[in-house]
């Protein structure tokens, strides 16, 4: 009998131990090719606004986090396959994505903008863009907005990474790029971006950026609470100021 109880206790310990620890350890995926939100530094470490926010949220939630890099195309399938538990990679909350994942509340809001070469006028109204070649990153809001709203008049080119789209803008193959505004703002201040500027007006498309988790995962609520907390205690403003002189929330 004693032996049986001992076994039962051991079994119970085995079953509960990993459960209680599972709440603490959170694996977070980011892309690592979307400056200044997530990118690799010289040492190959993930850095950027998303990474800083992820660390701040984990500190707020007192969770042990591991941040991994994951290619954008496979980032949602990887989440669903349980390779990690959350995506903090400047991902827009869309209806299509909500069918397969859940999101936290927004942690910033995105607007779109056109970028083109300085000294070459680019009228960004639909009629004026007729026949132009405009690039965007594949599988992004900018890419889909471009296809949906300008696809019938402009020649749309989709790139695997934003860097490749910039390279092709510099090469002159593209008349312009449609991009999320904040990363473009960052790129325009680099030596490579110095010959380019924003064209036309920003496109506010009510695009909210959230943290993706698996359907039904309670992590979404925890992240939302933590976002509110770092907004309130000034941690968010501190990170924001590191990257942009204006509030992007």
């Amino acid at each position: 009998m004693k032996k049986l109880i001992a076994t039962a206790v051991m079994l119970a310990a085995c079953v509960t131990a990993p459960l209680s620890m599972a709440g603490e350890k959170i694996r977070i995926a980011t892309e690592g090719a979307y400056a200044p939100f997530n990118m690799m530094d010289n040492q190959g470490q993930l850095v950027g606004f998303d990474v800083d926010i992820a660390k701040a949220l984990c500190a707020e939630m007192k969770a042990d986090c591991e941040i991994v890099a994951q290619d954008w195309d496979g980032i949602i399938p990887g989440l669903r396959a349980r390779k990690y538990d959350a995506i903090i990679a400047s991902m827009s909350i869309t209806e299509e994505r909500l069918r397969v994942v859940d999101f936290s509340e927004k942690y910033y809001a995105n607007v779109l903008a056109f970028v083109g070469p300085k000294g070459k006028a680019l009228d960004t109204t639909k009629d004026a863009l007729k026949g132009k070649t405009i690039g965007a990153q594949r599988a992004t809001i900018a890419g889909q907005y471009l296809e949906d709203n300008f696809g019938n008049v402009v020649n749309v080119k989709l790139y695997d990474t934003q860097d490749n789209a910039y390279l092709d803008l510099a090469s002159g193959r593209l008349d312009g790029i449609m991009s999320d505004k904040f990363p473009a703002y960052d790129w325009l201040r680099t030596p490579e971006g110095k010959g380019f500027e924003f064209k036309g007006a920003d496109l506010d498309i009510d695009d909210h950026i959230g943290i993706a988790v698996r359907k039904g995962d309670k992590l979404a609520g925890k992240f939302s609470t933590a976002i509110k907390a770092i907004r309130a205690n000034g941690k968010y403003a501190e990170i924001n100021a590191k990257y942009f002189p204006f509030d992007i929330y």
């Binding site: 195309d73 299509e96 889909q144 989709l158 790139y159 490749n164 510099a170 090469s171 002159g172 193959r173």
Partner: protein, 233 residues
């Protein structure tokens, strides 16, 4: 797991558009590659070091670096130089389509040249000696004997290279081309059904490979018909 057959049927016409581009890329660069490979192989088979050195270096470079790197260097690399952008080549190098064809042709030519070189060297010495004994000129020997014999020997190995290129052509999607893979990835970005789309794309690749295999089988039967002849009883 959810599996949607509907999405495959819905997007099949688009996938087939992509497949057509894949066929174009493979057919054009396959032929161009062969045209480049034959002289390279003949030079490579030469006993004179001065002649065999160039194809040796060429083959070493193109077999020793990844095709993806070659495509990136040609498409993104070359276009960063104003000298290239202002040259007469720019109308061609500007287009991702031609950049892909250039990269694929040069790459497959390197592998093809090595295969053909091996085939040339596998021709029995006696046959070449017979040509000399008959007083055939070098050019006639190459045209009528060496290349024809080498074609029969190289065919099984060459079909491998063409099949590998069919699959490598998926890399065209990295330079904005909407080939079969590029199309599948663009559809996936919208529908979030990677398994269904890659499955469908895989089946289309398989069908294209089946046709290629059949073509090579028929060619082999024709070129090496002496091997298939019925032995007299």
């Amino acid at each position: 797991m959810s599996w949607e057959w509907g999405v495959i049927w819905q997007y099949l016409p688009k996938l087939l558009d992509g497949a057509w581009l894949t066929i174009e890329l493979v057919a054009i660069s396959g032929l161009l590659g062969l045209v480049i490979a034959v002289p390279l192989a003949l030079m490579r088979a030469s006993e004179k070091k001065a002649i065999s050195a160039f194809p040796y270096i060429y083959i070493f470079f193109f077999r020793g670096t990844p095709l993806l790197v070659q495509i990136f260097l040609i498409y993104y690399g070359a276009s960063q130089f104003d000298a290239v952008k202002n040259s007469f080549l720019w109308p061609v190098l500007r287009e991702p389509y031609w950049c892909a064809i250039i990269a694929f042709s040069l790459n497959t030519a390197a592998y093809g040249a090595e295969l053909i070189r091996a085939a040339i060297q596998a021709i029995p010495k006696g046959e070449i000696e017979a040509c000399m004994a008959l007083g055939m000129s070098k050019f006639t020997t190459i045209r009528r004997i060496i290349l024809r014999r080498a074609a029969g020997i190289v065919l099984p190995g060459y079909s491998n290279e063409v099949l590998l290129m069919l699959k490598s052509s998926a890399l065209a999607s990295t330079i904005t081309l909407l080939d079969l893979t590029g199309m599948a990835r663009t559809i996936i970005a919208r529908t979030y059904t990677p398994l269904e789309m890659f499955f469908a794309a895989g089946m289309v690749y398989l069908a294209m490979a089946a046709v290629l295999i059949l073509c090579f089988r028929l060619m082999e039967r024709k070129l090496n018909r002496y091997q298939y002849a019925k032995r007299p009883v």
